[in-house]
Symmetry: D2
Subunit: 453 residues, 4 copies
């Protein structure tokens, strides 16, 4: 759950700015820390810090960051510690040059790799995959050229990784053979850009060329673009990018996210229709599917909840009497819209169920006659090992309760999830090209589980 | 364009927290500065600063702000300077006690009043209405009791003013006789709250009692609530609160804002229907009316534009090549939704027309066959004198161009505005109870124009 | 206990910088807050904040502060609250123009004046003398011209006040008829400067012209310098400026501070000689007198204590075992210098006696055979009413104990103070031109005591 | 030019506080950055940042830093970049545990060692000796125990190094076989402390045990103290610690710094006496020697210059007219003391000569009849390779000019330096136990020169 960017252009002054704007458009992929490393000719200049992209770069002089090549990163805080040591890009000085690396994914053989490196004399600053990858890459580059090192690296790393890195002024983007996490390739006048999602390309006015292929690495040297690729047994594109994580205006592996979510809503209406007066989303995650649900069901679409646009930026103070304020700070019911109505509420997924319960309760207290909950994904029963932070198994309500039990817990009159087949149909990809592990417990790559980022 | 709050409770520790949460829910009314003044027994403790509520109060120890009475303010930057001296609440020490005052509105006799005070020996720190009101009030309180001073103040002040102020631990809320700007009164267990909009009451779990009446002042002394009222010739509720400014989940003078906007969309569909494939809002301001338009017209509702949730927080860097980035940082087109389609775009209003033009252009470049622009208000032809920052007459595109000229300028295939009658019908109030000055040039109170806040 | 500065020059860009450097050289007069107000043509630009001059102005763009006239202030925290509202210069907008005022001193009729102003309708922001003076001046300027207003003001204000203020671009410096606090007048190429001490003039390379006379005001209008003066019954120059407060390189009312302190040491040696091996100062306040003492007594001068140059900048953490650390963080004994020696310790004064006791103890533990304490002033028996923060009467050890009792308390083998005659001789001014109130309880101006600054 | 500290105590809460206070007392050894790393049981908690100790730790919660072992560092900025990456202690996670290291000195085989490590696969974050040492140590600890690793490390490292490091909760202090830089060992109730100078021990109330011997390492494990030692061919204690760098209240290798400087002054008076009226120091570095000079010569000691206590904290703004202000911000002449006098000025050393010239000029302009400059060290003709930042050879005025040429350049009437023999005599150590390289070009350890810290 991170966002990565890499830009090359001969116009050294615009490079860090394009990385900045790209990161801004990928802010939804990580709000904990942000950073840019730019190769200025001798070494990388690095700015990174805790907080939103705009906070970290507020007083930064972009002139000092100019360089023909730069990589950027936004990081989502997971179970690990929120410390600035873990902010990326991770930059090291090596025999082969300086390396700046930005990573999105999760290595399942992290401890194995790190232990081996430690036995070979490496020391570590952080607890990130990026540092392990940087050290492996550095050791490979002592013995072989960049192309061979990339191929070798692909053999060593296990798990999900979309990477953008630079070795001095050579820019590289690479995607693991399963292509778990997204990564796309774009061009603009005199330059090349790599980004986690295509919305970043739209933002900076770049042309989308294509997604990186499973197991592909693209190398940019002095403006020359070269592609190398390892064999991929099977693809395993993350379905959660479509369900929740990616921005709706992004197109990933040929599927537009908004369209997938709209179809999810339509199929959900077909699979789990109900007599009702209005269809409303849990904002913002349920909006697109709710619109699709309304279209297919013919039930009137109107909002039941208004989200405070400034949310995510407040802090709750402990006080007995103020205990219930947290949900109300995030959203408020539109009483006139729900009073006396049978309401269908659509959300993208249910993780713990606690927020769902509070929302159903708010809607009822505002006078709704019935509340029917519809979920735009099958039940999540198992944690992700490949980069999406989803809580542990025990916290996932669907891992230990039946749908009827969940319905009672959240207090809805009815509850229905999208079927697995419905989801696959909405995405429009063959089942064996998708990673469905969180829904089926069928993990494409086995390995020690250790969630970091 | 400011938000104001006042809270009284015997539980001194929760008072500043309730003001904080209320201000957070009124953040849309002003993002420039925020402040809380709390009466701690001897004097007011004040925290105010530039920025969002959460930024200003990030490291504040709320224990130090405890007090039975507190007032709060969020301020919108207008033509005046953005300086911390102008942040509110404005607090002064006077013979009658300390006064903390939060104001929303615009006095039209500001300069006349200030000149007179200066001739009588007053000096000023800021350029705000609040300071003029505080000094007038202070002089009145030397000669008469609070009730008489309030009545007298109402005779002196001209223009729009919703006020919340405290004289030591006596809390007062008052609304001008025209009731231009909103102000409501709520109760919670053991306490009283006043706020610009009812959404603040929902947020802190208070019960909405009623809006203040035109010319009414409510005084809270040791928990005792007293109402006094001057005669009101006519009401003049601001229509722009319904059209754009207020939060949709607020109910102002008996009309729910979401419902008014939904009806605006429905009436707009009736008045200005068009053959089309999809109806889409300009997010977020056009969303509710677009849903209403779709419902009434029967045209499919689907989004054409996705707004970056983090917008309002970035900064644009000057660079020839990056010139066009500003719109794209704010929103992106959903190409798959508009490609080959006839699109109806709904927005709440058009002020300068520059953003509208860029958006129509983006939609067309994404492949839309036709773009029809529908506006949820009549043309704005004259600036507001009562507290809404709307640019000067010359900047208002409708003040000097015909609708056909505007259509050509923004590049739409067709353009239609809501009629004045349609607006009045959607609000559901008699025309003579509304202020329509920005749409008709008929100003309820004459006076020197000087916009401050 | 504050420092004030005013600068006029036609070269608007250097004015705020000269004020900044002057304040830096007056930093010893106040470390709590600092500020500069510069008249930019229409109004004052003000920068003020808590902390040292360099902290407050670290990121300030001095271009924005340019103006032909500017005043500056450093403030010492006294018994009042350390709040930014009390930082100076105090700036108000009045009928006669904008006024920026910087004050050093203490009005003894503060409450009387403020109550009267409140009865006449004034309101207050702060609890400073400056605000009272600004409001009085503003009211006078409505009725009369500046010269008359200044004369009138002198009749109204009681107590000590050295003032630098500007009414728009007219700069004024004035000193009360007793001339309690210092204030001098200098010139530089194309400009005029006023400052609390002459060291500020040296720092910016200005030529010292003269001290302001008792009751004199100097007005600078467009480069023209005019002097007006009220009658002064008697002068009452503060002796504590010479004893402790002023910088040694300043010359006040014709007496160089270093020379006075050196003579104090010499006279002290004559009055209270003792058989000893070495003479050492308590750094830094006792250094000059110790050198003079050594010269006159013929006893070898060598340091016994080394002061940590970074002191004044640390914070002590509460912890049982670390209790005694506070003195040792400030200074350390030079054991080799005191071991087996009879030591004369010289300090400028004794206030509470607690630090003196700890120092004597440290010296003894380091092996000194005898410790003789010599004080460069008579015993302080009464608090200052005119601007020096000296603790209340009860805290002044000499107000309730005999010299022998104090000697026992601090643990010295002998203790002697400078005589009053000795002090007067060292300063070299007639006794009736000095304020000796803290040493004699003879207060030149009576009035309510309320220490502020 | 750095200061290092290490503390062990079973009372985990006082450990980081004792390190903090020790660093505060070593602040003169480095003002660029400061840091503390404390072993909390699982890993090191680290706080480091740019600026003074008190700035870096202002808002730090020391409870979070509690641990039985902690190391601290203050760093002086040298020719390298002032970047937070170079702040120490340097902390790494290794196979042998976590290592936190603080270093004072300069390795002359830095590049050789780093290149070898890079060839063996190591990557680097910073450009510090500390990181090279940490990586070497880590690799050694894979193969052998701590004692052997320390012995081995001593064989590998060339140049000067005083180190304090911790491997998890084992604390180690070590000093290179030449013992270039100081490092001492102290005890307090229930604890052990290592620090660059003995003044740190005085500050925290610890008992000085002894200096570390050349080539000695002291290991503290669970309170048990063990000493190991390699052979030392020759000692080479840095004379510049005595001349200028160390605090006067420190005792290094058995010689008290104040006493050495006092003797320097005495011998200088014998070697280079002159007819004069007063002897004055350049504050603060020349003070002690000036007192000694006065004592031996019989010429009156009085100050000629007053230093602004707040210096080191200001910033100079570029402006034609203000060009000469930099010296005057630092110090001011006491005109009355020098007027018409023959003045002997004593300083510890002359590096570039530019400041000396400005000071002589100031003294003359204040009316001195003659100015005789006396220097408390022989001419510095060659840069230090072992950790003192002294400019390059070209910048050292004595490397290319005769004493007579220097005299003319600084504008003195006479100029004399201390002889080498005089210096050795003042220190009181055999010549072959000292490092005199900067005065004689005789470098005890050869190697590539690269100054870092």
């Amino acid at each position: 759950m991170c966002g990565i960017v890499g830009v090359y252009s001969e116009d050294a002054r615009i490079v860090p700015k394009l990385v900045f704007y790209s990161l801004f458009s990928l802010q939804h992929r990580g709000q904990e820390s942000a950073g840019i490393a730019s190769f200025g000719g001798e070494d990388f200049k690095v700015v990174k810090g805790m907080g939103l992209v705009t906070d970290v770069f507020k007083n930064v002089d972009f002139e000092k960051l100019k360089g023909k090549v730069a990589v950027g990163h936004v990081r989502y805080s997971t179970t690990g510690e929120s410390v600035v040591e873990n902010a990326q890009p991770f930059v090291v000085k090596t025999r082969a040059g300086s390396i700046a690396i930005a990573h999105n994914g999760n290595l399942v053989n992290f401890f194995e790799l790190r232990n081996k490196l430690e036995r070979d004399g490496s020391v570590f600053i952080s607890t990130t995959d990026s540092e392990v990858i940087a050290q492996l890459l550095s050791r490979l580059l002592i013995k072989m050229d960049l192309e061979d090192a990339i191929i070798e690296l692909t053999k060593i790393l296990k798990g999900s990784y979309s990477l953008v890195f630079a070795v001095n002024d050579t820019l590289v983007a690479m995607r693991d053979p399963f292509a778990f996490r997204p990564l796309c390739f774009g061009e603009f006048d005199g330059g090349v850009v790599f980004a986690s999602e295509s919305c970043a390309l739209d933002t900076i006015g770049a042309k989308f060329v294509r997604d990186l292929k499973p197991g592909e690495a693209i190398i940019v040297r002095d403006g020359e673009v070269e592609s190398i690729k390892v064999e991929s047994e099977r693809e395993a594109h993350c379905v959660f990018e479509y369900i929740y994580f990616a921005r709706p205006d992004s197109t990933i592996d040929g599927r537009n996210v908004y369209s997938v979510r709209y179809k999810i809503g339509q199929i959900l209406a077909e699979e789990a229709g109900v007599e009702a007066d209005i269809v409303s989303p849990i904002p913002d995650s349920g909006t697109t599917s709710a619109i699709g649900f309304a279209e297919r069901s013919g039930i009137k679409y109107i909002e039941a909840l208004i989200k405070n646009r400034y949310v995510g930026r407040t802090f709750i103070m402990p006080e007995q009497k103020l205990r219930e304020i947290s949900v109300r700070l995030k959203m408020n019911v539109l009483k006139e819209n729900v009073k006396g109505k049978r309401v269908v509420l659509v959300d993208d997924s249910i993780v713990r169920g606690t927020t769902s319960r509070k929302i159903v309760d708010m809607i009822r207290k505002a006078g709704a006659k019935e509340v029917h909950f519809r979920v735009g994904s099958p039940p999540i029963i198992s944690p992700c090992h490949y980069g999406i932070d989803m809580q542990t198994t025990e916290e996932l309500i669907a891992s230990k309760k039946t749908i009827e039990e969940i319905r009672r817990e959240i207090g809805a009159d009815s509850l229905a999830y999208l079927s697995l087949e419905g989801l696959i149909k909405a995405i429009g990809m063959r089942k064996d090209r998708l990673c469905l592990a969180c829904l089926t417990r069928d993990y494409p790559v086995k390995g020690e589980f250790c969630f970091r980022c």
